[in-house]
Symmetry: C2
Subunit: 335 residues, 2 copies
């Protein structure tokens, strides 16, 4: 066992775009598990747009990460030592490990994952939080019916690509919004009926063209213009699922609210937010169904794996620059 | 019977605030009812913020008023001549009469109203569209539970004052937002637990103070800052009922969307629009319950009656300047 635990801590609360100096890399002794606890050697952590929100002070759906604390992150890894009856050395597990090489967690904070069903990074993607987010956000909040048009922003991302594929599985027309030809091609390969390239096309005109009957469900990961383009095309009793607003996370001026929000009134539509953690009692149900789809070849997943915990900041920024292609996962162990 | 029918027609589509020249006063012969039709002598018409939207071209929840057409308006009056078996001369009725002295409507477009239960103008207020709007918007869309905090903008208006009183009848805490001391006092007399004067108080600070546990239901007639102040104080699973946005109807620059709309995500809340016309199959049910409350002294209503159809524009502008006090009703007959 390595003698030290490399950790990434939040050093400052970022203003606008996170800077390298907002994080510090620390080295601590490897912690030892107490009663009922498990020591996990972390192999991969998830890099998520939501992390940006966790760095801010103030009321949100989850406590902010404290200054000087290890940055919060979902991770998968291997049990190194267990004082909990449900886990033994070598088990593969997922949980909120944080951005570090070793984590001590309580047994009930860990879920066993099966490497023979899917490679470990997928448990941070389609079979992890992004997958659960897509599943519950689309099906529970968006409530699509067969024949509906489902529009998805961030369509090549971890959540959006899964939303589009589930929409197709449910008999909907799926239309994506993504940035750049390569991402749009990828979304088309996944089965999206049409994909709008917001970097080279007129978002409003193309949304109208791609959704000739209007939008029944808009699943929004992006905010800003994508949200306005969707609101402009809502059908009667449409549902706007608020999952994220990555276009707004790093701006320091006043964020842009959707100027045409009264389209919700005209169309008797609703816009609703959700937080995936609220569905944790149903993760197992969803993961079972998603794994079935993946094994049957009906749901494709893709991870973008980068390596090196000390470069946490550099890797994280890929998300906000749209540089990742598939679920962004950071390989930790051999750092 | 008067030999002519004074009518107010839409002459131009207003840009920003409606101008006097956007309307023209015309005099036509009194129309005669055809088979199954009824001639109504209009006594009062309703002046509503929604009229501003009806003047705009383009897709909305209802067809725009055509240029040169009589301005759409709800009205109450007396049957002058009937070719429909359900109505006889002298009956008091309400319907979409338009802004004119005489209207011909089909029998099934009219509802009989009973002057012995309430004076005619009330059938354009608490027992008319504004009352129905308050009733269905609050109870069906807002779904308040006893103990909830219900915040209402435009709290001294026809809709808002009714929303607050129904909220109290349902065991909620009712907090209003209104402009000026007199309107705030009026809302307090109606039973609002607290009222915020947006003209003289800090809306954000006072909303926090008046809703210490947060807002469960926000019923919005105003938009703009009121909406942002409410979003900033939402409780978990709150409901924002979009009824109107009078602060935004006449502006010519880009309207203001709620910059903090992501509070809907953080709080797993929803914002939903509705249109009262969708509930017409249930008007009778609601009107019965509302009339009962009025007769039992549990629901107060107030009308602000102005007179003179040719001054339609001047009276209408009172709405946008916040000059009316209670439901604004225009007396027509003796013009």
């Amino acid at each position: 066992m390595s003698q030290e635990n490399v950790q990434v801590k939040l050093a400052n609360r970022p203003v606008g775009e996170p800077k390298s100096s907002d994080f510090e890399v620390d080295r601590a002794p490897v912690p030892q598990p107490g009663d009922g606890e498990v020591l996990v050697r972390v192999e991969y952590i998830s890099l998520d747009p939501a992390m940006r929100g966790w760095m801010n002070e103030g009321r949100s759906y989850i406590q902010p990460v404290g200054l000087g604390e290890v940055m919060r992150a979902g991770g998968v890894g291997r049990v190194e030592r267990s004082n909990h009856p449900d886990f033994k050395e070598g088990d593969t597990v997922s949980g909120q490990t944080g951005a570090q090489q070793y984590a001590v967690l309580k047994g009930d904070e860990l879920i066993k994952v099966d490497e023979s069903v899917a490679p470990l990074p997928r448990y941070l993607g389609a079979l992890g939080m992004p997958g659960m987010t897509a599943y519950f956000g689309l099906l529970d909040v968006g409530q699509p019916k067969a024949g509906d048009t489902v529009l998805v922003s961030g369509a090549a991302g971890a959540v959006g690509s899964t939303v589009g594929q589930i929409a197709k599985l449910k008999g909907c027309r799926a239309v994506g919004i993504a940035g750049g030809a390569e991402k749009c091609d990828y979304a088309r390969q996944l089965g999206f009926d049409d994909v709008i390239d917001y970097k080279s096309e007129n978002l409003f005109r193309r949304t109208k063209e791609a959704c000739p009957d209007g939008v029944d469900v808009f699943f929004d990961n992006v905010g800003g213009q994508a949200l306005e383009a969707a609101l402009a095309r809502l059908r009667l009793r449409a549902r706007v699922v608020l999952c994220g607003a990555i276009s707004q996370y790093n701006i320091t001026e006043r964020p842009t609210g959707p100027a045409n929000y009264m389209s919700l009134l005209v169309n008797r539509a609703r816009m609703e937010g959700f937080v995936v953690f609220d569905y944790k009692d149903r993760y197992a149900e969803a993961a079972r169904e998603m794994a079935g789809w993946i094994n049957d070849g009906k749901l494709q997943a893709r991870e973008h794996i980068v390596e090196g915990l000390p470069d946490f900041h550099k890797h994280l920024m890929m998300l906000f620059r749209g540089e990742n292609f598939g679920k962004l996962v950071l390989k930790v162990s051999d750092a």
